[in-house]
Assembly symmetry: C2
Homo-oligomer: 372 residues x 2
């Protein structure tokens, strides 16, 4: 069983929690539980990490971020490195998720975009015409030196614990750029998609190339897996997803075949799971609405799933959480592989101790069911 | 084909739109397109109405509501009547939806609750313990005289055009009462549901009785159909829905069997459709994520569906809207009956003329496909 090595972080944590037992770094994240599970290889228990594990649920994160704007934090290699390490150090999770934001590559190529606290990404000049596409030039590695530096530092610190690279998928990025910010119904996005398919596909092709380049930078620097987030894809019907979104997600994921495992996730995607797999996903993330055994059935033979504890349960009494975790692990056994996670991101209000306890519980559950 | 009769409204509209051609009121809403479709009987074209058709998308509604708080508007029979009539008069829809709010019966029994503009329902004292249940006494018809008065006035005005009664389902009501207001993740609700099932079921039984009584008042006053809204049910997995929610929705709907058609709707309920039917729904509302032919398959033989144009498309160019409407009608033919609607409520920003045009288009499409 791999655990994050207790190497000293590059930045001292503000409130150092108890470190896991020290262990010599293993040779290679490619032999980690996460990567093995993504390939459908058996392991002693499911690997576990949490979406948004690096973030506001941790007091040491809030202390480090105090006074620093989100985008500034995402553009400083030392901050990225420390924030990415914090949950590994505290929870003993089996993977680090690179601390960033889906709009970071857009900001890096000069798109006027900021992340406003309590709102989300806000775009200076929303995209409404072909001329607006000029703002979306290709991303070069030199645009994001802090990403390369941080991933390199992280892989050095983490040894065998894999770093998961991170990018936003074309549809979700397009929604922010078209709406100008977060949207409940994505009405302008859908109107443009259906009303001007040529502009839509041109926009998404550019965004796909940017996302692919952003992931490639992280892989080249040592990321052992990547996750493509299509946060809002679940707002689409399958027919719209297949026509307008899937080709562009495939443009991101397909060229990475044979590099590192590719995880693909969105919320409320019960209707889309099989299609998302065909985008080139080795692992399909599932929210809590679809049990993992049913997700495995929809995905077809050989599928590897990630998920899917309802994050709303994190505030419940521990027996409720424990029962739910055990059910998720049991249902995950129906798939060829299972990466334990929440069904969405860690809420800012989550008690970090509950997350740590979940990691310990999952680590105690045999992958074959004997220990459950 | 029924159309709403152009009888004079009880309150003059603030900005009178063009009235549809005058016609003598038909005998009975029980022979209306809506009721016939709900029973799976053939008709010349699908009946059409829109969730939230009575509301902020209409300038005459905004004029009438100016300076009046939402709950006050819902407690005045003349206002309810006029607001309910406005979209029938303007769009020529095949049904009126009783203008109210799901929290109206709660306010009527003395629960401290208000509807805050831009926020939603806000509860003075959220429910957290058994003692708090005392606030939820049974609803008597005398608690809501304005409902009886308004439905009677409406059935008089509308002739053969049916009035659809309206109530919120126990789960959605419980979420507001437990969270204290709108919630993205329903975390407290889910924690209570799993952590204290006894309190949960006691709460939902009371809410079910209140919702049933609220619908019964409307049926007794002349409503020709009812819709039970479980707006947030789609946030649940099927197993949680079946254990914690379905029994209470059934307590509302089952006793109404044999009275009027019962419509049951929630958003993002692709996983729950068949279960929702078993709650006692004659018609199951479907959002835009699941095509109606697939919904009919999930619901099983004899199912009648309602829906499901994506409201986000209302702002698209007309050819986009028209294509989508035609597809919805075509897919609806796979069910035993189809009530045309949006897949969720009319957004406040919707252009009313587009809604009118959709009604005209649906009315031109033969139910058997010959005219499509």
């Amino acid at each position: 069983m791999e655990r994050s090595p207790a190497t000293a972080p590059s930045v001292p944590p503000s409130a150092p929690p108890a470190a896991p037992p020290a262990a010599p770094p293993a040779a290679d994240p490619a032999s980690s539980l996460l990567v093995r599970a993504a390939h459908g290889a058996p392991g002693p228990h499911p690997p576990v990490w949490f979406m948004r594990q690096a973030g506001r649920s941790l007091p040491e994160y809030r202390a480090l971020r105090a006074g620093t704007a989100m985008l500034d934090a995402c553009r400083d290699a030392a901050t990225i490195t420390e924030v990415t390490l914090q949950p590994v150090r505290r929870h003993g999770v089996d993977a680090a998720i690179f601390f960033s934001d889906i709009v970071v590559p857009l900001a890096a190529i000069g798109v006027g975009i900021d992340i406003v606290a309590g709102v989300g990404p806000v775009v200076d000049k929303p995209i409404r015409s072909v001329a607006d596409l000029d703002a979306l030039r290709p991303l070069e590695p030199g645009d994001v030196p802090y990403v390369t530096d941080a991933v390199r530092a992280l892989t050095g610190e983490l040894g065998a614990t894999p770093v998961i690279g991170f990018a936003g998928a074309p549809f979700t990025l397009a929604s922010y750029l078209i709406e100008g910010g977060p949207s409940k119904d994505h009405a302008r996005t859908k109107a443009l998609m259906h009303g001007d398919p040529q502009l839509w596909h041109a926009l998404c092709s550019r965004l796909g190339a940017i996302a692919a380049a952003f992931l490639r930078v992280q892989i080249d620097a040592g990321a052992a897996a990547v996750q493509l987030f299509d946060s809002w894809a679940g707002s689409l019907s399958l027919v719209d997803y297949e026509q307008f979104v899937l080709p562009h997600s495939r443009e991101v994921l397909a060229p990475l075949a044979g590099t590192v495992p590719r995880i693909h996730f969105g919320v409320g995607t019960g209707e889309l799971l099989a299609a998302m797999r065909t985008a080139g996903a080795d692992v399909v993330g599932v929210d809590w609405r679809v049990p993992l055994d049913e997700a495995a059935r929809r995905l077809g033979p050989g599928a590897v799933v990630q998920g899917n504890l309802d994050p709303a349960l994190l505030g419940a009494d521990w027996p409720v959480v424990e029962r739910a975790v055990r059910r998720v692990v049991a249902e995950g056994r129906a798939a060829a592989g299972h990466v334990f996670n929440l069904g969405h991101g860690v809420p800012p209000t989550a008690d970090p101790d509950v997350l740590t306890r979940i990691v310990e519980l999952v680590h105690s559950l045999d992958a074959d069911g004997a220990g459950a």
